[in-house]
């Protein structure tokens, strides 16, 4: 995939980032650097700590220890600045079903303190890019899933953020819509935005410039998809994921002893 110069500026950086819930460590001393303009695939097993990490980076949750910056702002002290510089689409994205597409976008613009003039200028760019023109005045509930997803992207980027966090944006989405969605993600990155994305579809991992694989709070692999596959001598990221996460799993009794545990 496209070369990512190491000198490029850093969009997201964490140092020993840790989050505990009681005695349980959900994110375990995470060190991460994501470059500006990069599509970074944040993969991992269920419960690995991806959503928890994203919430910390978006200023929605404080770490127990460790430090980090997002868009140059400190996650511990500058969460308001961070929120203005990022867009966030959660695992269950939150659109108002009863509002029209336009009303949803107006609502999100309001949250970011955007006046009508700034919103109108932004929509001039966003609406053709996401091909939403024919849908602006439709009630969101009436749209098929693939279009709702576009509206969710529009809502998350209405304030023109430099970094977009997408937590499983294609979960449950059919193969045709998934590809269309990755076209959008690619477009975001080409327009200079940093995309930090999680997915459980391993073919989508291949579209990322770099990926990490996380299990039980730790990163167990990091690199470009091509390098990681070459190092492991495996043909696909799916194979890589299965071998990494299974090997990392504590051995336990189970009826499926035939698998590679």
């Amino acid at each position: 995939m496209p070369d990512v110069a190491a000198e490029r500026s850093i969009a997201v950086r964490t140092r020993a980032l840790t989050r505990k819930f009681g005695a349980f460590t959900a994110v375990d001393s995470l060190d991460l650097e994501v470059h500006e303009g990069e599509i970074f695939g944040f993969l991992g097993a269920n419960g690995a700590g991806k959503t928890t990490t994203i919430k910390i980076l978006c200023g929605l949750l404080l770490p127990t220890s460790g430090t980090g910056t997002v868009a140059g702002f400190d996650i511990l002290t500058q969460s308001e600045d961070i929120k203005r510089s990022i867009g966030y689409m959660s695992q269950k994205f939150s659109l108002y079903d009863d509002l029209s597409v336009r009303e949803n976008l107006e609502f999100y613009a309001g949250l970011y303190g955007m006046g009508p003039g700034r919103l109108a200028r932004r929509l001039d760019d966003l609406v053709p890019r996401l091909q939403l023109a024919d849908h602006l005045d439709k009630v969101t509930a009436s749209l098929p899933m693939g279009w709702k997803q576009r509206v969710a992207v529009a809502a998350a980027t209405v304030h023109d953020p430099a970094i977009v966090f997408l937590d499983e944006p294609t979960g449950g989405v059919d193969p045709v819509s998934r590809r269309a969605f990755w076209g959008l993600i690619d477009g975001l990155a080409r327009s200079g935005k940093t995309v930090f994305v999680t997915t459980h579809y391993m073919d989508e991992a291949e579209y990322c410039h770099r990926i990490s694989v996380m299990n039980a709070g730790r990163i167990i692999a990091l690199g470009s998809p091509a390098d990681l596959k070459a190092q492991a001598g495996l043909a696909t990221i799916q194979d890589l994921f299965l071998s990494l996460v299974r090997r990392d799993q504590p051995a336990g009794p189970g009826p499926h002893g035939g698998t590679s545990r």
């Binding site: 269920n46 991806k50 009630v139 269309a180 994921f241």
Partner: protein, 325 residues
Amino acid sequence: MKKADGPAIEVEGLTKSYARAGGRHRPGRGRGDATPDDRVRALLPFDLTVSRGQIVGILGPDGAGKSTLLRILATLLVPDRGRGTVCGHDLVKGYRQVRRAIGYMPQRFSLYPDLSVLENMRFFAEIFGLSRAEFRSRMAELLAFNMLGPFLDRRAGALSGGMKQKLALSCILIHTPELLILDEPTTGVDPVSRAEFWEILRGLRDQGVPVLVTTPYMDEAQHCDRICLLHEGARLAEEAPERIVESFPYSLAVLRGGDPLMRQAELGTLEGVVRAVAFGDRLHLYTRDLPALTSRLAARGLEVTAGRPTLEDVFVEKMGAAPDA
């Protein structure tokens, strides 16, 4: 159990339409755009037979009518027309018996967020009347799939998205129903657990429990004994996955490396290319004339190899243009 020999599902002529969404739920606004005649047809006359010992997959794009069909079969929705039996009981008159016989998991299944993982599982075991011994042996098997062993005391509400989904599945699988109906069971579930989950489904199938399942994952669909492709409420095809793949009408050229997402747009319009579709690190090009396309691409310095289509190729080809394409 009754009627062990008849098909698990036998329905014909099912139809269902809904009032178009929007408008009416907007109190205080005069902008409602739904008229009484403005209805969405979710299911056209639809027939389906599922025999014992089969995993049948219903595939289709978002909004094809998959969930509507499953809800009708689970007796949660009454069809406008049509009739049939599920586990030998009439779909409408016998709904109580149907509900007792089947295990159904809707797309968004809620657990009890304030109960722990163990309490949720025990709760479902009690509903289904499992003995302690049955519960214990079933738990062992399910924990191997859901990997929730270390988290038995955690509130379900504090689980990650995928862990919640796996717990919900485990609660449904805690007893052995006569028929399983699962609506996108593996959404949000990681690849390792998906593989384990399908092991369990195959095990149940081999014990004689038929499974009707929807999934957006084509690698899972490959594991079904039969697939029904649903599009706009109607059946496009219904066959074994291998058969469906054989019906792919084009030759497949595979281009490795480069930037498949970018090339998808660029090469999709090339002469002789019916469609270009990104598949991870590869680009699939559908063509009627492979040799001609191969030399046309060679002239551009691009080397392609002939490939064998997969179910995902069939899906993308049949389900029409992506909004971007």
